[in-house]
């Protein structure tokens, strides 16, 4: 095989029976969660939830049937971000009547909860027993639990599969056909900036007992809600939000096809990176197969792969397990692992007699793969996070444009 050709991704491609089985299991799990969230209450809700489930089912089917993890994940993730933005902006500007977070909403602890707040909550909870964000208590508890569970099991994979903001810079990074700007190898200050920012906002939030990042540095206020602009300070805050969003989530990702905001700025991503050494799932590089062609380095959207990473056999802790490197590798040298269990090195077609095993054995081999468990699990997480926004945005669009 010519290593300069990228084949049809045989490494994560599963047989049709295995793909159907995985998809069926996914639909069962996702339906269970949808029932718990009232997704099938009423005809309209049932139909729209069914459509959202079908979309997710098609995505996971295509992931395993074609073996192209990153390609289909990007579509789901970007659609999720768009659905979230539509749903949230419509709810604030339409239902609530204003996109501003009014002092009144803060007074009554009605601010919507966001997972990026969680790192700032830790020290005040530990030392002051306070949740320093004006949100319903149960919502804060849910987000803290989500970050703990997902962080320990999947780590930074949440940034590529579950974050409702991450899909924005993913979308703008994926839109252009080619790169217009190739960033030079990152200096340490740039590469580790998000960690420094994380440390700063954690300490500053603790000292001031207010969530610093939310009030001053969050670019995604631009597509969710602003603080009510009723003073000069608020004008400055809004200006910062908009500039950061345009620069980090739109412009630079569009030019570089890299996820600039998520990889170099987001403190939540840095926070989740801290669990990368203890995550259940990870990504490994088969050093024997790797031919140092550096396609993975080019393809990685989070600057997690370098020459050193290829030498060591694992990416930097900033790896968000998106699968872009796996797709780009012509040698099948990269793959997801579970607690160090090496990924099933499938080999190239014809290299081994594995393709000539019986039906049940092939099915078992296809399913018993850390990559299947990882993608299945993290996609469930993403779907749980996304489904209500898909349903709500579809409902609103149908009502607005078609009157149904």
């Amino acid at each position: 095989m010519n290593s300069s050709e990228v084949t049809s991704y045989p490494y994560y491609r599963k047989g049709l029976p295995a793909t159907i089985l995985i998809t069926t299991l996914f639909v069962a799990f996702a339906s269970f969660f949808s029932i718990g969230r009232g997704g099938f209450a009423g005809t309209r809700s049932t139909v729209l939830t069914g459509i959202a489930l079908a979309f997710s089912a098609v995505i996971i089917f295509l992931i395993f049937y074609t073996g192209r993890v990153d390609r289909w994940r990007k579509i789901f993730f970007s659609a999720y971000a768009v659905a979230f933005a539509i749903s949230f902006v419509w709810w604030t500007a339409g239902d609530r009547g204003h996109m501003w977070l009014l002092d009144k909403e803060t007074l009554y602890a009605q601010a919507p909860m966001c997972h990026i707040v969680v790192p700032m909550l830790i020290l005040p909870i530990l030392f002051k027993q306070e949740i320093i964000f004006p949100v319903v208590f149960a919502d804060a508890a849910f987000m803290i639990l989500l970050v703990i569970v997902v962080g320990l099991v999947y780590g930074r994979a949440f940034c590529s599969w579950g974050c409702f903001f991450g899909g924005q810079d993913q979308l703008f990074a994926a839109l252009p056909g080619r790169k217009r700007w190739r960033p030079k190898p990152l200096k340490p200050f740039v590469r580790y900036f998000s960690y420094g920012l994380l440390a700063f906002i954690i300490l500053h939030s603790f000292s001031t007992l207010s969530p610093t990042y939310c009030f001053w540095l969050c670019p995604f206020k631009t597509t969710s809600e602003f603080i009510e602009v009723n003073s000069f300070i608020r004008v400055i805050q809004v200006f910062i939000f908009v500039i950061l969003w345009i620069l980090l989530a739109v412009f630079l990702p569009f030019l570089s096809k890299k996820r600039i905001q998520c990889s170099l700025f987001c403190p939540m991503g840095a926070f989740l990176s801290c669990t990368s050494k203890i995550n259940l799932f990870g990504l490994r590089i088969d050093k024997e197969r790797c031919k140092k062609c550096n396609r993975c380095i080019e393809a990685c959207p989070t600057f997690s792969l370098t020459g050193d990473a290829l030498e060591s056999g694992q990416p930097a802790i900033s790896c968000s397990k998106c699968g872009a490197c796996i797709e780009s590798c012509p040698e099948g040298a990269m793959g997801f692992t579970a607690l160090g269990v090496p990924f099933a090195a499938k080999g190239l077609p014809g290299e081994t007699p594995a393709d000539r095993v019986g039906f049940w054995r092939k099915l078992g081999r296809d399913i018993w793969d850390p990559a299947v468990v990882f993608i299945f699990g993290i996609f469930i997480v993403g779907n749980v996070m996304a489904s209500s926004y898909f349903v709500d945005s579809m409902s609103r669009l149908l009502r607005y444009f078609l009157g149904i």
Partner: protein, 271 residues
Amino acid sequence: MMTFSILTTCVLVPLGFMSRDPFSNWLKSVGVHMSPNLADGYPIAEFSGFERSLRDLPPGADASAFDRALALRSFSVKKVAFRRFSGMGIAPRVNLSFEFDGRLPDPQNSPRGFSMTTIHVYIKAPARQPDPVRSERAAKVDFGSPGWNYQVLVDGFHEQARIFDAKGNLVASGLGLYIDYQKKPGAGAEAASGRTRLTAALPMDYLGDPAQGDWQFYVLVGISDSRHPSMMLHSAADTRPSVYCAALAAALPAAPEEKPRLRALALKKPL
């Protein structure tokens, strides 16, 4: 390891997602609370066990409504202060929260939804010296120790709480008056009674920080009477201005003609 990862993915992670309420309850049980919920605030002290006296009701008065108007369960002092770096323009405040059993009666359809209950809170703030003589005259109650600096009036006919000094001058207005009724979970008529929380937000810039120094609060809850300057209903049988017909947070006087005696709710320990 594969088995463990499958179990984690298919069992533990979903269990985690479904454990929101137990986790939330556990956080509350270890003392985690909301702040800065500006309608609630950072708790400093909470008091309960108030004494009630009902006497000489006007003829034809609905005794059960009077009872519900005085059903104070607890009184708490909380503070809220957004730091400057937040950019929030919300003034720091001292929140006085009153929790009543059931809904407060509102026979006169007051703007704030409670027309029978009137609350007086007398505050002795450490930063200022009270005038014992003047403050004793201004109030119609007996204090265990003399002197207070501020009288806070909360009633259903004014948008905000009002703050008077010992001379009876209106010196400041509250920053917010919040009324929340929470229905008790469960079914049936008993469960429908619920709780009403009434929170008066007072300007911390004016009063001072209740977490610093020794503060004393005297809470008097009575029946609203807009004909009287104190907004509180007086005895029908005894027309002397010092005798209230109903009062709460007062020790029962030995004789009917005596003034209600208020028990000091003291914040002794600075935080």
